[in-house]
Symmetry: C2
Subunit: 339 residues, 2 copies
């Protein structure tokens, strides 16, 4: 079936296509009678404007991109991304924006596609996630001038618009929870693969310092946010006999739990642990994971709203948003005392 055009709607309503366009775009100064007549034809015919023609004429596509750099491909199966996408689509649906997803499988692909994202004019703006240090995508978008928002704290300084969670406070809260339960040999599994990992390590250190606990370097191990890396890191920590571990992500905590169990130790009796994220799997861990809840969906929806404001030239909202986190106490540390 042939799609209707503005002209045809105009004919049917006895007005010009300009008037129909104005009715559709809620231009204020239109005679009520005319508006009604046009509206009726639109409803009857089910007419919807061709968004591509509209984009070309208005220089606005109402399409925004979600960019996930290639080094995040391996962690893309984490439940973090589906949650984030749920938050993002919640806002895009509400604002009538279309979301395009850019997921790269290699650095070469990323570079090639970055060029075309920036130069073909399809997008009104992009959300860049999976914050990593010295993000080349951020710097090229910045140079180009395309509106964007980063999810997470960008490595680059300056007034880059971003939406982040309070990783420092969260990690500090988690670590102090361990200390409050009488633990003194508090270890950590940290990550240096992004700024979130860095900030969480800072919070961990803050807590120790507040309680005058000196950090034994043997109580620090590294992971890359994968379950396997948590498993290995925990095995490295065990000889140093920690009685508690703050782990920078729930997925790594799942791996750590297994290492602890395999060593014949009990959680939390021998080793108490606290994770970070509070994604679905943390409830299904055994024992259930005490963790820091970060509002992932809210990060997604907030990022869209912020980007939309930037695209529309509205800057009343702060361009750098840090969302609060919350300690969720479960069996892996402290639920017997607090529940």
């Amino acid at each position: 079936m042939k799609r209707l055009t503005l002209d045809e709607i105009g004919h049917l309503a006895g007005v010009s296509r300009a008037t129909v366009s104005r009715v559709i775009n809620n231009y204020p100064h239109i005679t009520p009678e005319v508006r009604e007549r046009v509206q009726k034809v639109i409803t009857q015919t089910g007419y919807q404007p061709n968004v591509i023609a509209r984009s070309l004429a208005s220089n606005r596509s109402t399409i925004i991109g979600l960019v996930i750099p290639s080094d995040a491909l391996t962690i893309f199966t984490d439940p973090y991304f589906p949650s984030l996408i749920q938050g993002i689509t919640q806002s895009t649906n509400q604002l009538n924006l279309t979301l395009s997803l850019f997921l790269f499988h290699s650095m070469e692909e990323e570079i090639r596609t970055a060029r075309s994202i920036l130069n073909t004019g399809l997008l009104d703006g992009v959300i860049i996630t999976a914050d990593r240090r010295e993000d080349s995508f951020v710097s090229s978008v910045l140079k180009h001038g395309l509106p964007f928002v980063v999810i997470g704290r960008p490595e680059l300084v300056g007034d880059i618009p971003f939406v982040n969670v309070d990783n420092v406070s969260g990690a500090q809260l988690a670590t102090e929870h361990l200390i409050a339960h009488g633990r003194r040999r508090v270890a950590t599994i940290r990550s240096v693969s992004n700024t979130a990992g860095e900030d969480r390590f800072i919070g961990f250190q803050n807590a120790l310092r507040n309680h005058s606990i000196k950090l034994d370097p043997r109580l620090v191990a590294y992971g890359d946010f994968s379950l396997e890396s948590g498993y290995v890191a925990m095995q490295q920590l065990l000889p140093a006999k920690p009685d508690a571990v703050f782990i920078a992500s729930d997925t790594m905590a799942l791996g750590a739990q297994r290492a602890i169990r395999e060593a014949g130790l009990r959680i939390p009796d021998d080793v108490a642990i606290v994770g970070f994220d509070d994604l679905p799997p943390s409830v299904h861990a055994e024992p259930q994971l005490t963790t820091v809840r970060q509002p992932v969906r809210q990060m997604g929806s907030t990022a869209v709203e912020l980007l939309n404001n930037i695209v529309n030239g509205i800057h009343d909202s702060p361009a750098q948003i840090i969302l609060p986190v919350e300690l969720i106490v479960r069996a892996s540390c402290g639920s017997e005392h607090t529940n």
Copy 2:
């Protein structure tokens, strides 16, 4: 910075914009010398055509949609979707297509957006996933004429193009594996929420029939693919004393494992289990899960290729593709015998 246009490239190369367009689109009959001259200007300037203008003129956007109906929202955090998206983007990146993601949070939103997907002309085609019975999205797309491919077996009959896995054979394989290990009270946790669930139940029944095992109705429980539902279903099965369970998804199997453990039974000694999916969590289950591997990424990439062929009017490939599955033997049933 102002973006260049075809006209400007033409000026720089001393040809008309029509010629530049032909060079870019690999029109064959161009004097090599001219082609080279134009090519050089394009390279030097880094020119890339405005995709929106191109879409309007050519009536092709090179954008395809991935539609995930609202009743799949709750299972969207399953690792199934990230894997599928990885497969899809693998092909879209390779074919230079842009992927738009449509995820709905309510039926109302779904209906509203479906209309605009179909009527605004943005997409060249859609991939519809999360097969559910009587998919209203499929029927409206079908009526409208927009090219589409379903992932999974659609409920509607007819020659609807789809990419599916061999659920029947997979379930049969899994169940026969249980039987081959001497189990006779073989239960199942099935699901009726989509055709995959139905087909897997058929495979389960086939296996029993092949071995002349009568199905005790108390050995059938229902789930909805969530971990919780697997947990509850397993609790319902336990009084009937199964010595084996075929579970229609790994996520439900994780829940079932917990129920079995909590009942003080051992896996596989008391109850052997086999799941379906082989997504990452199945390796991290305790014990590791014997399961049926479905090539999720391949489904995604195949769906894109099929859709691309349909959009381009190429029909040499079969429009209905069923990918093979594979039994992966681990500790939850049989690895001691086969490894």
